[in-house]
Assembly symmetry: C2
Homo-oligomer: 447 residues x 2
């Protein structure tokens, strides 16, 4: 056998010498350091000198081995077992919440032997996996997709929006959307524009660690999101995720002001330039309000669903020596607009000016945001900003670049009228633009 | 007169009714709120309903006026006066530090009447503006450019690197580079690669508020940067900027791990995923070491200068429905590589795979970083990452996207050898890749 679970060369020799099998709990020693974990398959296999271990934290790491590395078996891998608790006695009187599952870590289990991701949880599994749900809400679960969120497009946003709208219109107390974290911020922004005047909370939730891991945030996040959807006094589109590493709290973020700011930590999601709307206390299930300027639950009598997006809008992050011809390329491809992620207060190099001029003349909407992410663009301070405004580039206040490109796709899906597009982009429709404070920018909260 | 300092329509009427002139201190009342500031020219002039005021914080704001708005004059604008202090008695025995001025806010004054940015400070002005410098170092100042940093390209990086190298080789105790904040992170990364094994500190510094503003950080940042350049026990390329809003401390960041994270605040610069190297206490001028794994001053006997960059490297930030053809466009333009700013652990949509495959087959280097900014890419966890690695996409650990594209430009400037390019991109050359900790990612400092 030349190849074993993806291993070859030096790594394979080491594993064979130890007599270890995939799934075994092993101790790998290198120099004077050692690390224990479950031996995992080697999926990528670019290097012959790496062994993949699943740590007790549930996290997979690739350990580089050297001449003096040793592996010893310290135990057989214990697979988690799932015991189904009895069905909740009665859900009568509890608020009705619909959970849409679209894929991602929160809805997946990783098989220890193959490393494969298993399909999304079914509706029936939910109370079994997370018995606490039965105290929070009368839950219905529907599987929309089983997709990694990096593959979502405006077509998925449209379908999710329509599915949520139909549930809200049927009278549920709230909706939860379980999704992969990768583009969750984009999707939450998309639904914030597509679904306005919602009378109930629409809560996105995800997990950074899958449910087979001791460190999983899947159950706590799901209970929190369902509880917020069922009982929160506010309405609209939100994201509920861990506040810190510990299992104490979740934060509930506005759908247009949140982004994933860490690749792997459970507290990866952050409100940018604004406070989160609420804190959910996991043990007491209390919802602590952090921002009082919200739309109250039930204030609107009917949700408005406008789910059309036009994906002929691009996001361009500027960097030194960016080739301005890429702007011309987008114009020639028939794009209708783009969002610049400029530097500082909203700048790009003067070399880009002629191409931007041409884009504007061809009728494209060009909006400016900042790669700083925090703070507000201000194109009146330096001549670069003034010149860009003269060309027709629109400063988009403190809109996140990611939210801005989603909004532009949505606005372009709503109208062909140039003046209307500009007006909508400059108008705060779903909390994406914070009001300017007269006192200047040094008081920004939550930086 | 139909137009006055850029004002027209409603805003012009309001200013005329008040009899106010540009530069006057005025009070603008709108609804029940009022704000005081110096009346500034209206440079951009897209709207007839905005008045620009310079607040006492030094910050310009555009105030939207309404029917009921009023302006009253509350005083004449006081221009700051500069009195030259006597020349320092003796600089003998102080460490020699060379300051290169390249432009930006730190080297500019804004004319109250015209809003124009005046040219960079000359060498002779320095001790006059910042008398404290005379206690820190024997300073020589050289003007390289007077440019906004958004217009910098690898050609400028090369020239700055060569100028710095020549000073270091002449035996100075340290070098300071004063620059605009917009692309300062990129430039600091560029010099970190171009100038290795420096025996002395090379310290980038900037200001978020120009020196005519009461809230200016120009003088404190400059004193701190010069002091660090003159006396710090560490060597290499760093960025020194305000730690908080107050004038208590600066932080000294590694040149490859720092980015501008706020459009306007003085504490905009942050070390990402690592601790800053030191804290500079403004009052006591003490340098407090925060990270001990630095290269010590004087350990290297000779700086190595390799200032070549190849700008045929692009940065592509992924977003949902990104058009994969833009990748083909870069290939067709003769680019030699690009950095993807993917989602989460290092992903893009499966729709991009064929174009990425083609790019790799054409010999391009494709590196993956994360738009999360914090955390490390890990392309062994999900099948998307595994597939991307099979295609030949290189996971770049915890390298910042901005640092990665600068590094790629530099690596492509050093060699044409494909294997060498890959090896260099995966090797930590200037602190751009933090060591992996066996315990997993939840212990990341400084998130």
């Amino acid at each position: 056998m030349q190849d074993y679970a993806g291993y070859k060369g030096q790594a394979l020799d080491l594993i064979r010498r130890a007599g270890a099998s995939i799934g075994d709990k092993v101790k790998l020693t290198r120099d004077r350091e050692s690390v224990e974990g479950l031996l995992m398959p080697r999926a990528a296999g670019r290097e012959d000198t790496q062994v993949v271990l699943k740590l007790s934290t549930g996290y997979n790491i690739g350990v580089k081995i050297a001449e003096d590395s040793r592996i010893e078996i310290v135990g057989a891998g214990a697979k988690p077992t799932l015991s189904k608790p009895p069905k909740p006695a009665s859900l009568k009187g509890l608020p009705q919440v619909t959970i849409f599952s679209t894929g991602g870590t929160i809805a997946s289990r990783v098989d220890y032997r193959t490393g494969a991701v298993e399909p999304a949880l079914t509706a029936e599994d939910l109370y079994s996996f997370v018995p606490e749900l039965a105290t929070e809400a009368d839950v219905r679960a529907k599987i929309l997709y089983s997709l990694f969120s990096e593959n979502f497009t405006p077509t998925h946003w449209r379908e999710i929006a329509e599915s949520v709208a139909s549930e809200v219109q049927s009278g549920v107390s709230g909706v939860v959307i379980a999704q992969g974290t990768d583009t969750l911020g984009y999707c939450a922004a998309a639904l914030s524009f597509a679904l306005q005047a919602s009378p109930v909370p629409i809560v996105f939730v995800a997990a950074q660690r899958s449910s087979d891991r001791p460190s999983s945030d899947a159950a706590t996040n799901l209970v929190g999101a369902v509880s917020v959807a069922a009982k929160a006094p506010f309405a609209g589109v939100f994201v509920a995720m861990h506040e810190w590493l510990s299992d104490e709290n979740l934060l509930v973020h506005k759908g247009t002001k949140v982004r994933k700011c860490h690749t792997s930590r459970r507290d990866a999601f952050r409100s940018i330039g604004t406070d989160p709307i609420a804190r959910f206390h996991i043990e007491t299930k209390r919802i602590e309000i952090l921002q009082k300027d919200y739309s109250a639950r039930g204030m609107s009598s009917r949700l408005v669903c406008n789910p059309d997006f036009d994906s002929r809008a691009a996001l361009l992050k500027f960097y030194p020596s960016m080739n301005p011809s890429v702007i011309d390329w987008y114009v020639n491809q028939g794009y209708r607009g783009f969002i610049l992620e400029g530097t500082g207060l909203g700048h790009v190099s003067a070399e880009c000016f002629p191409s931007l001029q041409r884009a504007v003349q061809k009728g494209m909407f060009v909006g400016m945001t900042s790669q700083c992410l925090w703070g507000r663009v201000n194109m009146n301070v330096y001549s670069t900003g003034v010149d860009l405004q003269k060309i027709g580039v629109h400063p988009l206040e403190d809109m996140l670049p990611e939210t801005a490109v989603v909004k532009l796709m949505w606005v372009l899906g709503q109208t062909d009228d140039r003046a209307k597009i500009e007006e909508m982009m400059h108008t705060n429709l779903a909390g994406e633009i914070s009001p300017r404070r007269l006192e200047g920018p040094e008081n920004d909260r939550a930086y």
